[in-house]
């Protein structure tokens, strides 16, 4: 992802390419941050910190060939830091609470994730994704909003692809449950309304 620069390269490119990366990815990074932490102002700060950290990395003489995964990596780390600041339970603790070991989902394939996703309404999913635990929200957003592949996600979150698949599957399942719960609530409300005397 990042290599030492060729001394013969025109150094003007560092600046130009960095600002071009800002222009190209600022919206996507902001969107991701905003959906993960549900705080617009804080999301802006995190995006700024992301670019500042990347610039610092560039200043140290590293030549970043592909900014996108690098930016997402830094952003993701900052978001995790943000969660830690607000003392949310750690990912491991959360997984343990669910009584799941990730190796148990090794058999889950991409096709099962796809078939599960096909059963969910994307519009409704958008309204409830914010209430998902971050471990699921993270992979769901990276895959379905940012368009990253399982391999990229696994590199990004430093987990195996299987773990990514498990989280995706679980996340989608959880998402569907939330949607169904919401729909059930709405139906119940309508039923109550319809029973009320006019």
């Amino acid at each position: 992802m990042a290599v030492k620069p060729d001394p013969n390269t025109n150094s003007e490119n560092y600046e130009q390419r960095f600002l071009a990366a800002f222009d190209e990815y600022n919206d996507a990074l902001f969107r991701h941050a905003c959906l993960r932490i549900n705080d617009r102002e804080r999301a802006i700060d995190i995006v700024h910190d992301t670019y500042a950290k990347v610039w610092t990395y560039v200043r140290k003489g590293h030549d970043i060939q592909n900014f996108r995964p690098f930016l997402y990596k830094v952003l993701n780390n900052l978001i995790i830091d943000e969660y830690r600041k607000i003392k949310e339970s750690s990912l491991d603790a959360m997984l343990e609470a669910e009584g799941v070991t990730e190796s148990a989902f090794a058999e889950l394939s991409e096709s099962t994730v796809e078939s599960l996703a096909a059963t969910i309404d994307g519009k409704k999913a958008f309204t409830v994704v914010a209430i998902l635990p971050d471990v699921y929200k993270e992979v769901l957003l990276l895959k379905f909003v940012d368009g990253l592949g399982p391999k990229e996600i696994s590199e990004l979150i430093e987990e195996s692809e299987n773990v990514v698949s498990v989280r995706l599957h679980r996340g989608l399942k959880l998402l569907r449950e939330h949607i169904e719960a919401e729909e059930a609530t709405i139906v119940a409300k309508r039923a109550i309304k319809s029973k009320k005397p006019i």
């Binding site: 003007e12 560092y14 969107r31 959906l35 670019y51 610039w55 309404d121 994307g122 519009k123 379905f144």
Partner: protein, 484 residues
Amino acid sequence: MKRFSEQLKKQSDSIRLRASERADLRERLVSYMEYHPLPAELQTKKLIAKQAIHTLLPTSFVVWRFNTKLFKTIVPTCVVMVLIAVPALAHQAAPGDILYPVKVGFNEEVIGTLAFSPYAKIEWETERLERRIAEARLLASEGKLTTEVEADVTAAIIEQSQKTKDKIAELRETDADDAAIAEIAFASMLSVQNEVLEKDADNVTEASTTPVGRTLAGVVAAESSAAEASQAASAPSYERLMARLEAETTLAYELFASVRAAATEAELADVTRRLEDVGRKIVEASTLMSNFETASATQVSIENQSTATTRAVATDEVISDNEALVNRANATALLRTAMADVRKLISFMTNIDVRDTITVDELVPVTLTSDERAAAVRLELSQLQQTLATLDTFDETLAPGTFSLAKRGLVDIITQLETIDLSTSLANAETLLAQATAMAQNALKMTEDMSVRAASGSADSLPELGETSTTTVDATATTPNVSN
């Protein structure tokens, strides 16, 4: 899944940075980069320059991303448009045009700024006033001088005139001579424009529906009179006037050389004659001034001599102080006239609309030379002699005593004129001639009246001399002294 992914992504796309947020974020980032620059080995001068451009630009301009190539093309084009094309187009603008404010508020102000000396600034303000009047005439000729426009144009002329007068007053505080000379030029310009407007008014026929407004003409006439009175009251020094006149005549000759190819022979002859007249006035003024200087030098030498006897003898030989001062005043007056004439000639040669409206003779009448004046005196004298011969044929018994007195007076004057030396007493001869001409006209009038009365058989007393004429001359008065 595709549908789920598309729907979720579509919904998520609604979450975006606002333009202002993005601009702020970029600015923060650029500032961060500026405070944490690349190491020296990675920096280039060009990079630093680019950073500076981004950081110097105001936030509102950084909202969208600059295309630097386009920027580099558009900015010079805009600069060329604003600084060259628009003022060039505005140069021909008339009141009411979109670019007219650019002409008055930018072009002319810039030119005014380029005039460094106070005199040059006044010259420019005078020219601006001339332009305003010319624009008014242009509008009138095109039928655009409505009452409202005329009011605006007149206000602009008054304002410009006041501005020029203020600048002259300002200059008078530091350099009275230059201010007085500037006033002459200002008055000359107004005189020319007044003549032109009067001629316009004369040319107005019933067919012409758009004469130059009376208000405008009235204002220019009033300004001209005031400027003329003001310049007459000022007294520039002979030396400064001569120096300025040399510059103006040089300019006039240069202009004359440049218009020579386009002018007709008659026009060339007319302008040549006026320039020669100006030259003669300058020579005459120089002669008078040298007389004054000689007189002054002699006076100083006399005062340096100690004996009263010597002083008494010498005083008779020199021109008196008063006469010397008169010479100086006359020399200055001649130069003032020459200066006014040159300015009018320059206006005539540089302004096509002035040339098209009035002749040079109307603007700068010919100044006769001494020989021409002497010839004119001789011609009028011979006419007077013929008139006298006619009066001799009249029966004096029919006339009262006043007729005889008038005739005798006329004879005396003619006798004096016949003996007068025109080379030395030309001015006196002209004065005498004027009186004699008036007397002859009155006498002729009396003879006509007496003939009418004789024919009608009336024996009533004839009117006294002068009663029948608007020109009255005391025939019994002592004839003027023609001595030098």
